[in-house]
């Protein structure tokens, strides 16, 4: 049977707002399959986002959905999770939303290791405002605000997450569609703060400015640059030049924040 995505989508909300060829829909399908595979209950799942194209994703999902302000998803979600630790909390957003205006909330959510999953759809651009460069735009690339080439170096979002203390970090791409659900599912099942970076395409505001002739070229580019972590172990630095690692990049067990706070409650009540 065809997979029934619509059982997780709010009736009447499709078609979505994303442009032709935008990979956000592919990631949303992966998220739906992951939620399904993990057996999450819709009314017990909060999906929280900030502002931007990717942040429109929760509106389609038939769950408790919270479309917050620009960059603030991780902080709102932290409040939801603290208030309702029994809920499954999933964050969705773009690279600019998560690592520029929301950068502080992002790194501190990683540091706390609070049990939530953050899916970052990294299309290297601010799409909704028409294609301004983001912290993930490679140096030299064109954006509407880098007409002479981007002078800024880019964040490696997965490394940023690892450095800040996230205990599960994975990376996939919109091309590798059948891997997305598996990465997200593993992230959801991990106890602690998990980050899944999905390299995505924005044909409308990034591709056309950066010599990608079509959506297909962008998808093929994602295919070409991705190297699974296992395969990378056998490759030389020269061979890895211009490539990005995909798969589960980092995983460790560390005390989870809500459990740590439960211990605070125990200590406070013992001292009463």
């Amino acid at each position: 049977m065809a997979y029934d995505y619509e059982k997780f989508i709010r009736p009447g909300k499709l078609p979505h707002i994303w442009c032709p060829g935008c990979g956000h829909g592919i990631v949303m399908k992966g998220l739906i399959r992951a939620i399904d595979a993990c057996g999450l209950k819709k009314e017990n799942t909060a999906i929280v986002s900030g502002i931007g194209c990717a942040s429109r994703l929760p509106g389609y999902m038939d769950c408790c959905t919270l479309h917050t302000a620009h960059g603030r998803a991780a902080a709102f979600a932290t409040g939801v999770k603290m208030s309702r630790p029994e809920m499954d909390v999933i964050l969705v957003g773009g690279d600019g939303d998560g690592t520029a205006i929301g950068g502080n909330h992002f790194i501190h959510a990683c540091r706390r290791n609070i049990n939530m999953t953050y899916i970052i759809l990294n299309n290297k651009i601010y799409g909704m405002t028409g294609g301004q460069f983001s912290p993930a735009t490679p140096t030299g690339d064109k954006a509407s605000t880098t007409p002479y080439g981007n002078p800024d170096p880019a964040f490696d979002i997965a490394k940023l997450a690892i450095g800040a203390g996230a205990t599960f970090v994975a990376r996939g791409t919109a091309f590798h569609a059948n891997q997305i659900d598996k990465l997200i599912a593993e992230a959801i099942q991990h106890k602690g703060f998990s980050v899944v970076e999905i390299l995505d395409d924005c044909p409308t505001t990034y591709g056309r400015r950066n010599k990608f002739k079509s959506v297909i070229e962008m998808m093929n580019h994602l295919k070409d640059i991705a190297v699974p972590v296992k395969a990378a172990e056998k490759m030389s630095p020269e061979q890895l030049k211009g490539k990005v690692l995909t798969g589960v990049l980092y995983k460790e067990d560390k005390p989870e924040y809500c459990e740590q706070y439960a211990k605070v409650i125990e200590r406070a009540q013992a001292a009463k």
């Binding site: 709010r10 819709k42 009314e43 017990n44 909060a46 929280v48 929760p58 509106g59 038939d62 769950c63 408790c64 959905t65 919270l66 479309h67 917050t68 302000a69 603030r72 902080a75 709102f76 979600a77 932290t78 409040g79 939801v80 999770k81 603290m82 208030s83 309702r84 029994e86 809920m87 502080n104 909330h105 790194i107 501190h108 706070y261 605070v264 409650i265 200590r267 406070a268 009540q269 009463k272």
Partner: protein
């Protein structure tokens, strides 16, 4: 049984008031001169199974506060001027998404870092106009430690009843002074809990105005699935740009507070019946004003005090009534004329409004107010 009595600092009393009101969630960020509120909550909340979180910044604290409130908790944060400026973004979110929460803002000198340990009353316009867009504003301005306790309880009641952020704004003097506080018994002060939805989850709409101007808010995780956004929205919570919905929603959000101003507003009239000069004051300044009124009466000046306990909504109708029978209003305040402007607008030219402004970190003393009374012809 004798009531519990304690010698408390204002900020401590605010925290105790929040606990009395049933607050179970605090998210904050350290800032002078409000930090004691957070400190008390960090001690007390885990004892009752509540949650305290110190966030990475003021904006994050406001975000976590709204998230916690959406989870169903009565939620509190505390801050001061620079923190209030940062929180404004999400105070607007709380207003449009209609999420109840309470913000204690202890007023210090400004703008910017200003005078962190000095008292001020210069955030009152920020309480109404600080975040962009039209939105409801409720701002309470207590003048004593006891009143800070009680007004914090009332702030939670108003937040939950009207489904909106409520600000309590003691000036630094009220926040840091120590006074005797008599703890009300449980049940002695009214405590209002959030109205739960009466419909089944499948029928629930978070902004369904068939339930009136304040539709019930379900909690995340309580079996209800719904969407919350900072965009202008339809009754079902989903975004819209349809003119008729946007206009009606914006008007309702303001009307639910302005239309219930009589329920929200609170003030005290002291010796105003025959007064020829009325001092309009709030917070610690009103304490000097009361002393000045008594001194004036001894000297044969018919003075009275109109003490604001709610600053927003502002009791402009009552001020207008009084303006028809007085020679002048005097408005002492620790800013450069914020309340004075509001009073002037309310009196519609019926009487002069003479301001006394201090922004030097020193309180306004009764002598200054008495001197101003003597200028009234």
């Amino acid at each position: 049984m004798a009531k519990k009595v304690a010698f408390l600092q204002g900020n401590e009393a605010a925290a105790q008031g929040a606990l009395y009101a049933g607050c179970k969630f605090f998210a904050g960020y350290p800032i002078t001169p409000s930090t004691e509120v957070a400190e008390v909550m960090s001690v007390e909340l885990p004892k009752i199974g509540g949650k305290f979180i110190q966030m990475e910044d003021e904006i994050g604290a406001m975000a976590a506060l709204l998230g916690g409130a959406l989870g169903g908790a009565k939620a509190l944060t505390s801050t001061s001027g620079p923190g209030l400026s940062l929180k404004q973004e999400l105070i607007g979110y709380g207003c449009i998404a209609e999420i109840p929460c309470v913000i204690i803002n202890v007023m210090r000198g400004g703008p910017s870092t200003g005078m962190p340990t000095g008292p001020s009353q210069s955030d009152i316009m920020s309480a109404k106009w600080g975040t962009h867009g039209d939105h409801p504003a409720i701002c309470l301005v207590p003048a004593s430690v006891q009143e800070l306790f009680e007004e914090t309880v009332r702030a939670f009641n108003l937040a939950e009843k009207y489904r909106t952020p409520v600000m309590v704004m003691p000036d630094e003097i009220v926040g840091h002074m120590r006074e005797r506080v008599v703890f009300p018994e449980p049940g002695e002060l009214e405590v209002i809990d959030r109205a739960a939805p009466t419909v089944e989850p499948a029928q629930y709409k978070p902004y369904d105005t068939s339930f009136g101007d304040v539709p019930p808010l379900a909690a995340f995780g309580s079996g209800y699935k719904f969407h919350v956004t900072g965009l202008n929205k339809l009754p079902d919570g989903f975004p819209t740009t349809k003119a008729e919905y946007v206009q009606a929603e914006e008007e309702r959000q303001v009307r639910k507070v302005e239309g219930n101003a009589d329920d929200i507003m609170k003030w005290e009239e002291y010796k105003c019946d025959d007064a020829e000069i009325i001092i309009v004051a709030f917070g610690s300044t009103s304490r000097s004003a009361r002393f000045a009124v008594d001194q004036a009466r001894e000297q044969g000046i018919k003075a009275g005090l109109f003490r604001l306990i709610t600053f927003w909504p502002f009791p402009e109708k009552r001020i207008l009534e009084l303006s028809k029978k007085v020679k002048a209003f005097i408005t002492p305040e620790m800013n450069l004329g914020m309340a004075t402007g509001v009073v002037k607008a309310a009196v519609e030219g019926n009487a002069p409004v003479l301001g006394i402004f201090r922004v030097d970190g020193e309180p306004i003393n009764p002598g200054q107010i008495l001197d101003k009374m003597k200028e009234v012809k």
